[in-house]
Amino acid sequence: MTAPLVRVSHLRKSFGPLEVLKGVDMEIGAGEVVVVFGRSGSGKSTFLRCINFLEEPTTGNIEVAGISIGAGSPTRHRRKQIQSLRKTCGMVFQQFNLFPHMSVLDNVMEAPLRISSDSSKVVKDRAMTLLADVGLADKAAEYPIRLSGGQQQRVAIARALAMKPQVMLFDEPTSALDPELIHEVLSVMRSLAKDHATTMIVVTHEMGFAREVASRMCFFHEGVVLEQGTPEQMFDGSRLPETQKFLNAVM
């Protein structure tokens, strides 16, 4: 077996006296789609945000695409490492976080233009291709405020993909959306997983999506991975009352 693409070891995270993650270990191989689920406050979003160091782990180690970084103080060298690691992770936020002062196209082009060495022509062509992939090529010149939530989130996915990440992190990507807009975002994510074999870690409550797309599901409970397995194992064969209770509540 080849080395995993993402390796999280002994991850702990405290906010002041509150320990949110109490030792999480996880290995994710290339092409895997991991759905992370659990009650709010279970640490699932914090887990995701620790992977690209938007939250500093209190202890533990994160390795993504061969870049391994432990918990530690923010030295210059470590900040550079974190920046390199982030380039390998695309992240999609619950609130989209598009840049409101830039057009849709500029949102997608911004990071590659500033960070990669590609020419602006290459970056623009790639951005247009990505926008076409998420079905928004005709909105390239629009500003984010003029798009629906579902469209904004699809732009955010294109923006994250523009850095050619090796793993995509989704932090409750559909939670802020009106119900009728959820499916368009999920279908983009489904296509990423199935047609492009993108490695994905998805924090979501969309259990239909999980059943269909996930290669593995991890149930977070009080800061640990309480149970994990394939969707079949989780939906049909979960042994733990906490997991069953949660699944009954959300489905």
Partner: protein, 292 residues
Amino acid sequence: MSNTSTVEAVPHQRHGLAESLEIASLKVPFRIKVAAVWLVIGGLLLGGFFKSGFDIAWMVDHAFAIFKAVWVTIAFSIIAIACAVALALLGALGRVSRNPIAYGVSGFYTSFFRGTPLIVQLFLWYLALPQLALGLLPQQYATWFIWPAQVAGIVGIAFNYGAYMTEIFRAGIEAVPHGQAEAGAALGMSPGQQMRRIILPQATRIVIPPTGNEFIAMMKDTALIGLLGTTLLWADPFRMAQLSGKADFRNLEALIAAALVYWGLTAIFSFFQRKLEERMSKGYVRHGKGAS
């Protein structure tokens, strides 16, 4: 039909004078009444002036020189606001920085320059700084810090307003949602890139209206520079008024002329400021041309 008797039951009353006035007043639009109040105030003032021997001929002769000095006010204001914006940007970056030196320096800056009177600061730059420089530096370098009144004045105004604007800019930077910098960070942008490309452009929109207000206030405060004793070339309307008014003992006429200059300037810029604020307050609009 049924209430005819009720109407007749109310006894017909003759209106008193006060009541008639009140009824007549209701027909006059509010704006007209306000304009009338202004006219009355203006009339009273003018009446008072002429009663005190207001010399209109002197004013006609000398007002032009005072009005002409408006270019000094404009030059002072533009140079000072440009410097103040630069200082405020640095100051604000310091205030949001976690670098103890940057944070400490900017904290000292805003505390001192907001905590002491502007007029004191102007004299510090003009009279105290040269003494300090002479005490610390060899003669040939110390002379670099002996400035003409207008330079000391502009620097003083710029540092003072820069300190106030630091807090405006800091608030503008902090008003940009945290998710914006996070989105940039997640894409692998450096903190500097996040600031330059994502946060500052959005903060700029927020700080432009209050910065306009500071500019208008600053225009008036440039009159203090004259107190340092500027030469005739750099005399602003207030200084001109003092010089010519004192010489001919026509202080009322001269100072009124100077006041009119500042009043006119602030009226003009307040108008543009209002227009600007209207435009900015629309924010990121959803409607507009090209809507799909």
